[in-house]
């Protein structure tokens, strides 16, 4: 396969990019480097600026300010067809009047490549649909169209492949399967993939690096594990999975840990996981990290006593508890059903505990619910 542009290769750099539509700032002074060959996800709720960012990389929007580079080439103001960038559109945008073969060959032909058959056949084999070459797009199922849209883009061997909510139109089962397939294809072809999605699970399954976007800015960037275990803001803590965020105050030091007072009880937080600006903090812990035992059981680590189960839902693999604490906050606890014995019930008095290493601390002035509502809306 011929490269779209062998001279333009390297990391994608977005430098101080702002995009405004009238009074509305869709992307606000964004700076981002996406390493060559990575699978990068831009994750955020709708309206966070992720799609606008993608369209600026594709050349379908022009930044109001700032610049975009691939390697050493400035592509900020070049036309879409002058960039070594291809896009898999949200609704696939296959050309309805052309056969699948001609759809895939489109980019090659525009670049003046005469002998397209070999390249098209190869990419059709890669997406496992060689028998559909002569069909029209309307004759294909959603999942097949999705793969053809991918094939039409990667056959050009772009420096950068953009995916705009590529799995949004597929049902859950097919989506799972395509997530694994996309990841495999990316490894196979070695092209940089930039993936835009509002689905945190999709981003975490596929991407090496995720940038969580909110209101035109990147909230935090890192590996999926990094973002999940050590979120820097309440938005990230709530948007990626669920978090219990408890108000507290740093009370002292204990080696590598801060000692934090939460409503009269002391817990420890590793200093590496503290993003507090001063002594006021939100102490965070993921629901599945918490152990739950009947009140009075001796427990180690960070211990919070005085909880009462206000709701228990058995969902097979685990049981989800809502525990009301003495300060009237409901904490979530996910307990694996791997111990047998009598399950705890609504109204039981309980003690909660977890390993200090699983705790993170956020700036105490943040809104503890940031990112949780948008998340619920889009699921």
């Amino acid at each position: 396969m011929a490269d779209a542009s062998s001279s333009t290769r390297g990391d994608l750099r977005i430098v101080d990019v702002t995009k405004s539509f009238g009074d509305f700032t869709a992307v606000d002074d964004l700076t981002l480097t996406i390493p060559e060959g990575s699978f990068f996800a831009l994750l955020g709720p709708s309206g966070c600026g992720k799609t606008t960012t993608l369209r600026m990389i594709a050349g379908l929007e022009e930044p109001t300010q700032g610049s975009i580079h691939i390697g050493n080439t400035d592509i900020t103001h070049t036309r879409p067809y002058q960039r070594p960038v291809n896009t898999v559109f949200q609704n696939y945008a296959l050309f309805p009047h052309l056969s699948i073969f001609e759809n895939i060959a489109f980019g090659l032909r525009r670049r003046g490549i005469k002998d397209v058959k070999e390249a098209v056949d190869k990419v059709l084999n890669l997406v496992e649909l060689p028998h559909l070459a002569q069909r029209k797009p309307v004759q294909l199922s959603g999942g097949q169209q999705q793969r053809i849209a991918l094939a039409r883009a990667i056959v050009n061997r772009p420096a950068l492949l953009l995916l705009d909510e590529p799995l949004g139109a597929l049902d859950l089962k097919l989506r799972r399967q395509m997530q694994i397939e996309l990841k495999w294809i990316q490894t196979e072809v070695g092209i940089t993939f930039v993936h835009v999605t509002h689905d945190q699970e999709e981003a975490m399954t596929m991407a090496d690096t995720i940038a969580v976007m909110n209101e035109g800015k990147v909230e935090q960037m890192g590996t999926p594990a990094d973002l999940y275990d050590n979120p820097k803001t309440a938005f990230v803590a709530n948007f990626l999975g669920q978090s219990n965020l408890i108000e507290g105050r740093i009370d002292g030091n204990d080696g590598d840990n801060f000692v934090v007072d939460v409503f009269g009880q002391k817990i420890k937080i590793n200093k590496n996981r503290s993003h507090a600006k001063d002594s006021s903090v939100l102490a965070g812990v993921r629901p599945e990290k918490i152990r739950i035992q009947p009140a009075g059981t001796a427990m180690s680590g960070n211990v919070l006593t005085g909880g009462v189960i206000s709701d228990a839902s058995y969902i097979g693999v685990s049981t989800q508890y809502q525990v009301e604490m003495p300060w009237k906050q409901e904490l979530m606890v996910f307990e694996q059903n791997d111990e047998g014995g009598q399950p705890l019930e609504k109204g039981d008095a309980v003690t909660l505990s977890w390993e200090p290493v699983f705790t993170f601390a956020l700036d105490g002035r943040e809104d503890a619910f940031a990112g949780s509502e948008v998340h619920a809306d889009e699921q």
Binding site: P80, P96, F106
Partner: protein, 262 residues
């Protein structure tokens, strides 16, 4: 009881039969009388003959008039379709000053009574020193056909997903190639439909043509003039042939669409 039940069940069908009868009785009458051995006058049935169909140009001047109508129709269609498509793209795809005014003005010829248009055009041509005849008729036809072409093509452009053109640009097609390889093929059915509409409007027009044609005889004008003395059966032959041609185009189009969809 049973009868009312049957009646209720078949009400829609009965209504449909009555409706189509109403629509097609005149056509059937025209078709039947194309076989009338009526000589000069074709008002009463005088016996069956295939002679009219074997010799459609038999009546004096009927084919001359038909030829004029086809010539006017083809030239007007090509010109109106070309200009109308350009206008439709401008209105459908671009923002410019005066766009909404143009949108409204385009409708004006469709809304104006033909008698008024015909009379005004004649006055205008005479004032400009242009004598009625072939070209004034063509110009008049292009004028009113453009409106219909613009409306038809614009509807097609509006239903076109802009992401298809973005996808083409993303796949290395520059503006011209995007238009030629994606936009135009997708809008083409709308343009073809507009052209057919323009041709039938032009072919069918009598009022505006009558004002501006001078000595030029078109087919509708021939029929109108002939009706004073009795329309020759050849007019029925040509009318029926046009009807079946149109029917054939519609059915063929449907079949092609069905095959494409499969």
């Amino acid at each position: 009881m049973r009868l009312t039940w049957w009646f209720r069940k078949n009400l829609i069908r009965i209504y449909m039969v009555l409706g189509f009868t109403y629509l097609f009785v005149p056509v059937a009458y025209t078709f039947a009388f194309s076989f009338n051995n009526g000589g000069k006058s074709n008002l009463v049935w005088k016996g069956f003959t295939l002679g009219n169909w074997q010799n459609p140009c038999g009546a004096p001047d009927v084919c001359l008039a038909l030829g004029n109508s086809i010539r006017v129709g083809l030239i007007s269609t090509v010109a109106a379709t070309f200009l109308g498509t350009l206008i439709a793209f401008a209105l459908g795809r671009h923002q410019f000053k005066g766009r909404s005014t143009t949108n409204t003005l385009i409708f004006l010829p469709m809304a104006t009574p033909e008698v008024v248009l015909g009379a005004s055009l004649l006055a205008m041509f005479l004032n400009l020193g242009i004598n009625p005849g072939f070209w004034p008729v063509v110009i008049a036809h292009v004028m009113f056909c453009i409106s219909f072409v613009v409306v038809t093509v614009k509807a097609r452009i509006a239903s076109l997903d802009p992401r298809l053109e973005q996808a083409a640009m993303d796949l290395y097609a520059n503006e011209f190639e995007t238009f030629r390889k994606v936009t135009l093929p997708l809008v083409a059915p709308g343009i073809a439909g507009a052209a057919l509409l323009a041709f039938s409007l032009s072919f069918d027009d009598f009022i505006i043509t009558n004002f501006n044609s001078g000595t030029l005889t078109t087919f509708p004008k021939f029929v109108y003039v002939a009706s004073a003395r009795g329309i020759p059966a050849q007019a029925n032959v040509i009318g029926s042939a046009m009807f079946f041609l149109a029917l054939f185009i519609v059915i063929a189009g449907q079949l092609v669409n069905k095959r494409k969809a499969r």
